[in-house]
């Protein structure tokens, strides 16, 4: 009996948190199980729940779409590292306008989400889209109703491009929206956008791959109109110097680079420093395996693998913080 419990404990690792990263962890863990026989159980209970569970020590790793500040990590005896890069798209329902035809910029999106730009043929949108026939239609803003890392990333981006957004709304997993309707989950936002002509919403890029929504190109920080793509998300990560940021506390939104997608995001894995060495190493081994061998799988579901330099920085970080690595 005791033997079987020990054996079980050795071949199974439990994590919990972010729903955003769930498809990736699920995909990696099934391949990892086939390779090594080690079972990774991941419960997508939400980032808030993931942070609470890892603090309570009930799971081996927690996953959050919003990184913890270095002070908070220190106070709770935690460490964190990024998993993969991802992005968000703005989707719209405009009769006669095809996917990627519409171009938007950060300040314009902020004004739309403030409710200041009310019509699709507003001069601010028309200026970005010369030659496109924009309808005289009311804009219906759609946002996430449930607390989500997607909302955090989106609002973090708007806070960077609009001082007014930063001051009046800010960024969090839930915010006090100035206008609009809220859909539950990516599927909720997507179905509202499909339903309501003239609507605009934000969903995870991975979700676009499955649904048939029209998404917009965005003007990035370099002033170029770019389409959302995995390389665009990876460029965001490449232009961030993860090695210099303490505890990888960097948000990937609105970074430099000609092809960089401005609304890029990331999910962080959180470990406890005082967890057993064996348990932490199991988790580290799994993610290291994912960084190395799970790249193709990540791409297939809309996640960009971390650049090798970042993976090397994570390994150094483990050694420095825990005294052991993988």
């Amino acid at each position: 009996m005791l033997c079987s419990v020990v054996a079980y404990a050795a071949t199974s690792v439990t994590g919990a948190g972010s729903t955003w990263v769930y498809p990736l962890v699920a995909k990696w863990s099934s391949a990892y199980k086939a390779k090594t026989g080690i079972q990774i159980n991941y419960q997508s209970i939400g980032s808030g729940g993931g942070i609470a569970q890892i603090k309570a020590g009930t799971v081996a790793f927690g996953a959050s779409d919003m990184p913890l500040k270095p002070e908070a990590l220190k106070a709770a005896g935690l460490i964190q590292f990024p998993t993969a890069v991802a992005g968000e798209d703005l989707v719209y329902n405009l009769p006669g306008i095809k996917p990627l035809q519409l171009v938007l910029s950060g300040p314009v999106v902020a004004d739309i989400y403030f409710g200041k730009i009310k019509k699709w043929n507003d001069s601010a949108i028309a200026k970005l889209n010369p030659g496109l026939k924009l309808p005289n239609m009311n804009i219906t803003v759609v946002h996430r109703s449930d607390g989500s890392g997607t909302t955090f990333t989106f609002c973090n981006y708007l806070s960077k491009v609009s001082p007014e957004w930063k001051e009046k709304v800010g960024a969090n997993t839930s915010v006090s929206w100035p206008t609009g309707v809220g859909g539950k989950g990516n599927e909720g936002v997507a179905s509202y956008v499909q339903r309501i002509p003239g609507s605009i919403g934000y969903v995870e890029y991975a979700y676009i791959l499955e649904s048939h929504l029209a998404d917009a190109r965005m003007i990035n920080r370099d002033g170029k109109a770019v389409a959302p793509s995995l390389t665009g998300f990876q460029d965001a990560a490449a232009h961030v110097d993860f090695t210099k940021a303490q505890d990888f506390y960097v948000i990937l939104t609105d970074h430099k680079g000609p092809d960089t997608w401005p609304i890029s995001g990331c999910t962080w894995q959180i470990l406890r420093k005082n967890a057993s060495k064996d348990q932490n190493q199991q988790v580290m081994k799994f993610f290291l395996w994912g960084f190395e061998y799970g790249q193709q799988q990540a791409r297939s579901i809309g996640f960009g693998p971390l650049p090798p330099s970042t993976v090397a920085a994570i390994q150094t970080y483990w050694k420095n913080e825990l005294g052991y690595g993988e």
């Binding site: 980032s47 808030g48 219906t140 109703s145 449930d146 607390g147 960024a171 839930s174 915010v175 006090s176």
Partner: protein, 334 residues
């Protein structure tokens, strides 16, 4: 009522005549055990409620201390970024969506119950009653998805007609303004109405069937129509049970979570129009609990739960008062 009570007592009284009856001491100890079991069961049920309220109060204490009671109830600010919380839009949303549900569900339930107990031929009664009751067995998430995927698109086609027809009327026209999105307070109310319909209608039907046939047949003999029998004989006779059934449905509407979350549109702003999105206390809990990270945020969400319990309690008290008033009036008139 009294007559039948006496009859039952006489039956019990004649029981010891049976020679195989258990001895008096066994009956006493058995009786004692039964009493004790009943008391324990009651304490468990009541204790669970008190323990829940105590735990919820304890967990929401931080928020109660920070925002107070009156301010929390009347404030419209719900901002996780600045950590200021107020429940007003959600209390309004809960009450409005449930009121719409009641306005729609009560007449339909009454009609269904009258049809089953009075109008339908005998062979049709059971299948129809069963079909209506089956509505209660559908999980609420299915109602939510049905509301979002099936009902909302259809309703979006109807909404322009609603706002054109009723929107022009001064006063209540304000309730029917806004873009036709198919989701919002009215949609939530309609979906809720379908959900609570089986509860109200099955209770109404049961009590209508319990109306003594002597009363009913006397009325028919005097030349009453089925409507007159239902409205003037059956409804007054069963009034308190019917009101009890209505409040059972209302209680369910107040606490419904998933179905509402899908179709209400989830906006923290109070809108005068029923076609616009809103939010209820349960929908906010369903939406925000998983990602609530700070202690004050979590505490405020639990505080919302406490307020929902209080709202339900007030509604129940009103029901009891209403039944008591009607009961005393009935007593006076008979």
């Amino acid at each position: 009522m009294n007559g039948s009570d006496t009859a039952v007592r006489i039956d019990i009284g004649s029981a010891p005549a049976d020679p195989k009856a258990p001895s008096r001491s066994w009956r006493l100890s058995g009786d004692f055990l039964f009493h004790a079991a009943a008391v324990v069961a009651t304490l468990l049920a009541a204790g669970a409620l008190f323990a829940t309220v105590a735990a919820i109060t304890a967990d929401s204490w931080l928020s109660i201390k920070t925002f107070g009671v009156w301010h929390f109830i009347t404030s419209s600010a719900w901002n996780p970024v600045t950590q200021t919380f107020g429940a007003f839009p959600f209390i309004i949303g809960t009450l409005v969506s449930s009121t719409i549900a009641m306005i729609l569900a009560v007449p339909v339930s009454f009609g269904t119950a009258v049809f089953i107990s009075e109008i339908a031929p005998y062979w049709m009664r059971r299948p129809i009653a069963g079909a209506v009751e089956l509505l209660a067995a559908i999980p609420s998430i299915v109602y939510g998805l049905w509301g979002l995927i099936v009902f909302a698109p259809i309703f979006a086609q109807v909404e322009p007609w609603i706002s054109n027809t009723f929107g022009a009327i001064p006063g209540i026209g304000l309730l029917f303004q806004g873009p036709p999105m198919g989701i919002g307070m009215l949609t939530a109310g309609i979906v809720l109405a379908v959900m609570i319909l089986p509860y109200i209608s099955s209770i109404m039907r049961d009590v209508f069937l319990a109306v003594p046939s002597s009363l009913r047949e006397s009325a028919y003999a005097l030349g009453s129509t089925p409507w007159e029998v239902a409205w003037n004989i059956m409804l007054p006779y069963t009034r308190s049970a019917v009101i009890g059934g209505m409040f059972l449905g209302l209680g369910r509407a107040l606490g419904e979570t998933m179905a509402v979350t899908f179709v209400i549109g989830n906006s923290n702003m109070i809108s005068s129009s029923l076609l616009m999105p809103g939010a209820t206390i349960p929908s906010v809990l369903a939406n925000e609990f998983t990602e609530a990270t700070t202690p004050l945020y979590i505490s405020s969400l639990i505080y919302l739960g406490l307020i929902l319990i209080a709202v339900t309690l007030v509604v129940r008290l009103l029901a009891v008062l209403l039944i008591r008033r009607l009961g005393s009036r009935e007593g006076a008139s008979i």
